[in-house]
């Protein structure tokens, strides 16, 4: 059944302990509310994250509409700050992170030959916790004083002066953090304990490797965020002064704690994207991934280094020059393992028998545009430059290049790659290509001019700007509208028809260069797979019994 909405019968892969007949689980809405099947929960995560992408996207379009012209047209500055704050929070915690968890739910058990996630009921709880958190976040717009407006980083002491919606925001972050930690524990235990015999760690698909490392990052840093926002809460209501200078507290300490979470968080949002790209590039180059072991070590290195670079977000807080030098060099060091990955993807393509179906287009687009974001990150890592560019649109351009053209493009690549496996239906290649090219073009129209705005000194998080910035802002706003419409097209013209089973029937392995256990199963993947552990060949990519 999998992600297809109608309940028609599908071919069963009995040879691999895979079937979806004789299934006596709940049907209708109970199937989803009581879901314990990793595929159903994966589908729920993906649909939830797309919904939040649309909500966050509407906020982004309101921001861009206001910035279309200088002066105040649509929203007042207070509401503008609420929009930027909630756009960031919703996109990071509601869209990008849950989307990758959706991918992990769907693909990790299939790729390692496990019957399901290790803790199926906790998996259900992890997902359903996200709904009240999302309602609290979105509902905070309707609370007295409006939504939180301190920026997605929730810096003190501004958070200590906000209205009651700040408490709703903090509560939402607590719930999302608990959900993330449970999800991570589930993923780590599944990967460590439930691999099929013969699936050694160093034979595991790269997507599983990147998620294993990401889950460790989440377990390490989500409690730190929870600690920081709990201290904010006690400062607000229980008379403490951790971050309140009026009581002897230190707002800069909040920044240290937040960014100790926040920088690894950046890698939490990109490492699984690297994993997806590492699956797709070899499939469409018809070659093995170049430098598999170096990919694993590079991913681990990025994760470890992510813990010692946090203060590059704080160069203007007045730290000693030795501190600036340490964080500058540590940050620049991350470009080494990142470059290893980019080199390996390009080397995989080198002399490959390449074709450019939509997953490959998004992957190549990812490599090209993410690299631009990586380079601007290297530029911002240099303390003397960062001090000039701190809180300008150059920073906004940089992190949208890594989060939109990075994480989001990789998510799209992954959706196109595995959609036939999820739904049993081939998407329309023409529509996929339309989605890719419109996304790529409008993305660059939106965010490339922001580099120039930032270099010219336009600060972020302001509802108004001087006339000199008018042209680039108008261009960026038009691009944002186009980018938003491209994503609506993606759902209406690509995802929805596939979910309804409309389109050519997908074979078990629609991509001839793809390797891995998921392609050994019929399409759509039956509700229950690998109920008995499969026997694998020496490469752990084929089932031999």
């Amino acid at each position: 059944m999998s992600a297809v909405l109608d309940h028609s019968a599908h071919a069963a892969g009995a040879a691999h302990g895979a079937h979806d007949h004789h299934h006596h689980g709940p049907t209708g809405w109970r199937r989803w509310v009581y879901a314990t099947n990793h595929k159903d929960i994966g589908t729920l995560y993906l649909l939830f994250s797309f919904t939040m992408l649309m909500v966050g996207g509407v906020l982004a379009l309101l921001i861009r509409a206001e910035l279309f012209q200088p002066g105040l047209q649509l929203v007042n500055p207070e509401l503008f700050n609420q929009l930027t704050t909630m756009h960031g929070l919703i996109m990071v915690f509601g869209a990008i992170m849950p989307a990758f968890v959706g991918f992990a739910n769907w693909m990790v058990p299939l790729q390692i030959g496990a019957s399901d996630m290790a803790f199926a009921r906790m998996n259900n709880f992890s997902f359903w916790l996200m709904i009240p958190a999302a309602l609290l976040l979105v509902g905070s717009f309707f609370m007295p004083g409006g939504a939180p407006a301190a920026g997605w980083t929730l810096y003190a002491p501004l958070t200590l002066q906000m209205g009651p919606s700040m408490d709703a925001g903090i509560f939402a972050m607590h719930i999302l953090g608990a959900s993330s930690i449970m999800g991570s524990i589930n993923i780590i235990v599944t990967i460590l304990n439930m691999r099929a015999p013969g699936m050694t760690l160093m034979k595991m698909p790269m997507f599983c490797w990147t998620w294993l490392i990401t889950a460790y990052l989440l377990i390490a840093v989500m409690p730190v965020l929870a600690g920081a926002i709990t201290m904010t809460l006690t400062d607000r209501h229980f008379g403490t002064s951790f971050f309140n200078p009026a009581g002897g507290g230190d707002p800069v300490m909040y920044q240290h704690i937040f960014w100790f979470f926040g920088h690894p968080e950046v890698y939490i949002m990109i490492l699984p994207a690297f994993g997806i790209i590492s699956q797709i590039v070899p499939a469409f180059s018809r070659k093995k991934l170049f430098g598999y072991a170096s990919m694993v070590y590079a991913t681990s290195s990025i994760a470890i280094l992510s813990f010692i670079v946090w203060a590059h977000h704080m160069f203007t807080t007045g730290m000693p020059v030795t501190g600036q030098l340490f964080f500058m060099y540590a940050t620049m060091l991350i470009s080494v393992p990142t470059a290893v990955k980019i080199f390996n993807w390009v080397a995989t393509m080198w002399r490959g028998s390449m074709t450019f179906e939509t997953p490959m287009l998004f992957s190549v687009g990812f490599i090209f545009v993410f690299t631009i974001g990586g380079f601007t990150g290297l530029i911002l890592a240099m303390a003397p430059i960062d001090i000039q560019l701190q809180d300008t649109y150059y920073v906004v351009a940089h992190f949208h290049y890594v989060l939109v053209a990075g994480s989001l493009f990789a998510l799209f690549a992954g959706v196109y790659f595995w959609l036939p496996k999820w739904t049993g239906v081939m998407y329309s290649e023409l529509r996929g290509k339309i989605h890719f090219w419109t996304s790529l073009v409008f993305f660059n129209i939106t965010f490339f001019p922001m580099h120039f705005l930032g270099l010219a000194g336009m600060p972020r998080r302001y509802a108004d700007y001087p006339m000199q910035f008018a042209d680039f802002n108008a261009v960026a706003s038009i691009g944002a509208l186009g980018f938003g419409l491209a994503q609506v097209y993606f759902f209406v013209a690509v995802v929805w028809p596939c979910m309804r089973g409309q389109g050519a029937k997908a074979p078990a392995k629609p991509w001839d260069g793809a390797e891995g256990l998921e392609w050994e199963l019929p399409s759509p993947a039956p509700l229950h797979t690998f109920e008995t552990p499969p026997k694998l060949d020496a490469t752990a990519t084929r089932i031999i019994g």
Partner: protein
């Protein structure tokens, strides 16, 4: 489906991870608070 032994091993690994997270939190936030005291 996981066997009983596998379930036990899963639970042990999960509690180990919870302990890891708690230690990390106590260590990091504790250190920051101590530095700030």
């Amino acid at each position: 489906m996981p066997t009983a032994a596998q379930r036990k091993a899963n639970a042990r690994t999960a509690w180990g991870l919870v302990a890891l997270a708690a230690t990390f939190l106590a260590g990091f936030v504790g250190k920051i608070l101590w530095l700030n005291a």
